[in-house]
């Protein structure tokens, strides 16, 4: 299988403090994410406050469920809002919406469920979370042929978004 882009950025902002993680068809996820970003921008102007993460996730879900037969999109919505703080929602293929303490998706995710269930602790610190994610992704990248390249992290808090890249020798 040919790797068209080895450094793709699959972490897409849909608002200032709300990101989505895209998996499945790149075309489908880009199209849906663009639509949701527009809807959220409009909505937050009407609301005159930052939109809720739950709202963003619901918007994704509405598109993914309505067009479930045509789409191939696995999406994780994560971010921070003043109402409920940091949240993670998963919208897998089929269009279900579920809030979870953490989420993974894509073909590589199958290989790391054991690691995740054995290692995750609620209430981890920021750096612990980043290490948890980096280790999980590195394991998936080794085993899954369809996973590889670099690890992109986006830490979203009340203060804002901080993006980092782990590549090559930086990987756990």
């Amino acid at each position: 299988a040919y790797i068209a882009n080895r450094v793709t950025d699959k972490l897409t902002p849909v608002h200032d403090r709300i990101f989505c993680c895209r998996s499945g068809s790149a075309a489908d996820t880009q199209a849906v994410a663009d639509a949701v970003a527009y809807q959220l921008a409009f909505h937050s102007v009407e609301l005159e406050e930052p939109p809720r993460v739950r709202t963003a996730a619901r918007l994704f879900q509405q598109s993914c469920y309505r067009y479930r037969e045509e789409l191939s999109a696995g999406i994780i919505v994560a971010g921070w809002d003043p109402r409920r703080g940091g949240q993670v929602y998963v919208v897998p293929m089929g269009g279900l919406l579920l809030r979870q303490p953490f989420a993974v998706g894509g073909s590589g995710s199958s290989y790391i469920y054991g690691f995740l269930d054995a290692t995750f602790q609620p209430g981890m610190s920021r750096s612990q979370c980043q290490e948890f994610v980096a280790r999980a992704l590195a394991l998936a990248m080794v085993r899954d042929g369809s996973s590889g390249g670099v690890i992109r992290l986006a830490a979203i808090t009340e203060e804002g978004v901080e993006r980092t890249v782990l590549a090559g020798s930086d990987l756990p």
Binding site: Y2, I3, R6, V142, G149, G168
Partner: protein, 148 residues
């Protein structure tokens, strides 16, 4: 190829081995029951170096450079450009030049082949025999990740 068992001092030359393999693979494909492999043969026979290719279809040839799988698409052009660039056809590259060329090819393959890994081994075939180096690790450059 259990010729060592006979101990009669005779062994297959690289060319003869290649020929035999071609017959085996081609006949299997002709019975619609292929041995699903691509084989490269590298050898030295009385001063003459030999590089051959045979695959599951029975396609077989000899060439200054050979490659399998993704290498046929990505590495061959690199190898051919280097080997056929303004030098006489009989002028082989030095061992160091060949090594450096190989590593460049392997790096490209690691970047662009989804089913690849960054570890490799190198076998150098000479009159004296086969020297295996490795496992070695490829250094990849990910600077462009920051440009995206």
């Amino acid at each position: 190829i259990d010729e060592e068992l006979l101990g009669d001092g005779h062994s297959y030359s690289p060319r003869a081995l290649h020929s035999w393999l071609t017959r085996v693979l081609y006949n299997r494909r002709s019975k619609i029951n292929p041995l699903w492999n691509t084989v490269l043969i590298a050898g030295v026979d009385g001063g003459e170096s030999f590089l051959g290719y045979v695959d599951l279809l029975g396609v077989a040839y000899e060439a200054p450079s050979v490659a399998t799988g993704f290498g046929a698409y990505l590495a061959q052009p690199l190898l051919r450009a280097e080997l056929e660039r303004d030098r006489d056809r009989d002028q082989l590259p030095t061992r160091e030049e060949a090594r450096e060329l190989l590593e460049r090819c392997l790096k490209v393959l690691y970047y662009r082949d989804a089913r690849s890994f960054n570890r490799y081994e190198v076998a150098t075939v000479t009159e004296k025999g086969v020297e295996l180096e490795g496992p070695l690790t490829l250094e990849a450059n990910w600077d462009i990740a920051h440009v995206v």
